[in-house]
């Protein structure tokens, strides 16, 4: 039975790289501290593979043929895609892929009634994958990655209950289909509150963000599924905040566990609330396990 040895959620706002230098010291501290802790935890987990769920941001597919989940099966993942380079302001990177795990994931989810799509060619990555890859030093740690880009913004959007079900199927796949001694890391990339492209582009909903971080760190998944609705996320930043659904997939896979946050910060230029959570994979809280 393969094991989930690392699980976390973290934002991927492009400003976390391109605009970090110019940010105030207290803001910078939270960003650096959050990603340093996640980077250390990933390295310490000695994972054999990292599966990242992240908002696709309409980067790969036309709006009329838009997949809810798109798995990157390439042997190497290169990013960022050309047009996003000046916007993110980051270096080019190449991360080892895992075609074996990616194809097993595709087959495993299909078998469990979850429609995903999968592509052999390099996917187009923007901040969704580029920011966590660079800030958590995935390249340096040499961990193969399987990216899964999801639909968090094109209606109809798979909601929190559907994403939790997808996560439960993912957890079942990891435990039952992957090689018995495999160590798997999971990252939900996205959030916190933001409204990219909207009339409230600079809006950050601090109250929502703090509520969300406390809730996902509490391990109370029943409350999460009842209250983290699409309506609530849209109100906290339309077209952006709902990418927290990537965290919900990870939570469905791990079940109820307490988590730890490394602080929260708001900075206008990031146009996004910033805070991450690392879940304790050694904890056992069977009583709070939610049913999706």
């Amino acid at each position: 039975m393969a094991e989930i040895v690392f699980a976390a959620g973290a934002p991927h706002a492009p400003g976390l790289i391109g605009l970090l230098e110019a940010a105030p010291a207290d803001v910078k501290d939270v960003v650096v501290n959050t990603y340093r802790n996640l980077a250390e935890a990933i390295a310490a987990a000695k994972a054999d593979v990292l599966i990242v769920f992240a908002n696709d941001h309409l980067a790969n597919s036309r709006i009329r043929t838009y997949p809810d989940f798109l798995i990157g099966m390439a042997a190497e993942h290169r990013g960022p895609y050309e047009w996003f380079k000046p916007w993110i302001g980051c270096e080019d990177y190449t991360v080892k892929g895992s075609p074996d795990v990616a194809s097993a994931l595709f087959n495993g989810m299909t078998k469990r009634g979850i429609r995903m799509f999968a592509q052999n060619e390099n996917l187009k990555f923007d901040d969704n994958i580029s920011v966590p890859v660079l800030l958590t030093n995935v390249v340096g740690a040499g961990i193969p990655m399987v990216p899964v880009l999801q639909n968090c913004t094109v209606p109809p959007i798979p909601d929190q209950r559907r994403c939790y079900e997808v996560g439960q199927a993912l957890g079942d796949f990891i435990r039952n289909d992957l090689p018995a001694d495999m160590r798997v890391a999971l990252l939900g990339s996205g959030g916190l509150s933001h409204e990219p492209g909207g009339a409230r582009y600079y809006f950050i909903d601090e109250e929502f963000d703090r509520w969300f971080l406390d809730l996902v760190a509490s391990g109370d998944h029943e409350k999460l599924l009842n209250e983290l609705t699409l309506e609530k996320m849209e109100a906290a930043g339309s077209g952006g905040t709902a990418e927290l659904l990537a965290w919900v997939v990870v939570l469905g896979a791990i079940g109820s566990k307490p988590g730890k946050s490394f602080g929260y910060t708001v900075h206008k230029d990031f146009k996004c609330g910033v805070g991450g959570v690392l879940w304790d994979m050694d904890a056992n809280m069977p009583k709070q396990r939610a049913t999706a």
Binding site: P14, G15, G18, L19, A22, H57, L58, A59, R62, I63, R64, E82, W83, P86, W87, I88, G89, K124, T153, V154, P155, E195, P196, G197, G198, A199, R200, Y201, Y202, E234, S238, G239, G240, D269, K271
Partner: protein, 102 residues
């Protein structure tokens, strides 16, 4: 302003995706915008809104806001802290009531 007016059939969505995916098309768009627009099945009001940089009108007829944000960057600049900031401010100005920001 959210997704309630979203019209997935709007041809502007394809234009924006193609501009993102092709440096050659971006060059052509900058040099001869009309020639590029001629190749897309744009409604009259849709084309007019693009030509006058009226994001408010584009959103009213159903442009997806995420692609709207990218369209602003394709037009006004895409570099972190520089052109991209101009693009965000122009977009917000339009959406908050000004309409055309040509």
């Amino acid at each position: 302003m959210g997704l309630e007016k979203f019209n997935p059939s709007l041809a502007t969505h394809d234009l924006i995706q193609d501009l993102k995916w092709s440096p050659e098309l971006r060059e052509e768009f900058a040099a001869d915008e009309a020639a590029v627009l001629d190749r897309y099945a744009l409604r009259k009001d849709e084309r007019r809104a693009i030509e006058t940089r009226n994001f408010l009108a584009l959103y009213d007829i159903g442009l997806h806001p995420y692609l709207g944000g990218q369209f602003a960057r394709l037009i006004f600049g895409n570099e972190a802290g520089k052109g991209a900031t101009v693009a965000v401010n122009k977009l917000v100005e339009s959406l908050q009531g000004k309409g055309s920001v040509a």
